[in-house]
Amino acid sequence: MRVLLFGIAKDIAGKPVITVDGVNTVAELKSYLYKTYPRLEQLRSLMIAVNKTYAGDGQVLQASDEVAVIPPVSGG
């Protein structure tokens, strides 16, 4: 599964897109991200968007989903 990264999350991962396999839910994806990129745990918040909508931890992920890592937003 392709996962998009933005802002400081992109800087921490060192790239704008990563490939993640073997995760079935948002919660599992977050665990994978924290294990792989521990600095993500220091952020004020970390949200996951699925198909351009904020997703709760329980949401099931499909291979075809557009998944994105959303660090704390700071627009405006």
Binding site: F6, G7, R44, A49, A68, P71, P72, V73, G75, G76
Partner: protein, 138 residues
């Protein structure tokens, strides 16, 4: 069309005003956000905005819909820039037209407050001695 959401490299208050103004609404309230030259006592040299553009547009549209469906707004424009900006330049403009001005004030303030909480846009501040993603850490 009663709403305009746009992410672009350059935006103006006039664009937003031109979209919402019409002779059926007596009052327009506009918020314009600009790059400050100082933040937390440090001189800002420039800002960089990154957007998850398709999702940001959807979230901006949700805000616009809420103001029209629930807050008595007739027309709303929400514009945000992407890319680099210098101090003094405009980064966000929200214009709201409503028959009653109290509703226009409430909806405009709601829109900018909500944009800052939900719209996936990230701001990096550049100082003379470094750079930082705003609000990333507690």
């Amino acid at each position: 069309m009663n709403k305009l959401v746009r992410i672009d490299t350059h935006i103006t208050v006039q664009q937003a005003l031109d979209f919402v103004e019409a002779p059926d609404c007596g009052g327009v309230v506009i918020f314009s956000g600009n790059v400050r030259n100082v933040t937390q006592q440090k001189k800002v040299t420039k800002l960089f905005f990154e957007c998850y553009e398709p999702m940001a547009l959807l979230e901006m549209e949700k805000i616009a819909n809420h103001t029209i469906e629930k807050m008595g707004v007739k027309r709303i424009a929400i514009l945000h820039i992407t890319g680099e900006k210098l101090p003094g330049e405009t980064v966000v403009v929200i214009a709201v037209a409503a028959p009653h001005r109290a509703a226009a004030f409430d909806a405009c303030e709601y829109a900018i407050d909500t944009l800052k909480e939900t719209v996936p846009i990230w701001k990096k501040e550049y100082f003379e001695d470094g750079e930082v993603w705003v609000a990333a850490h507690p």
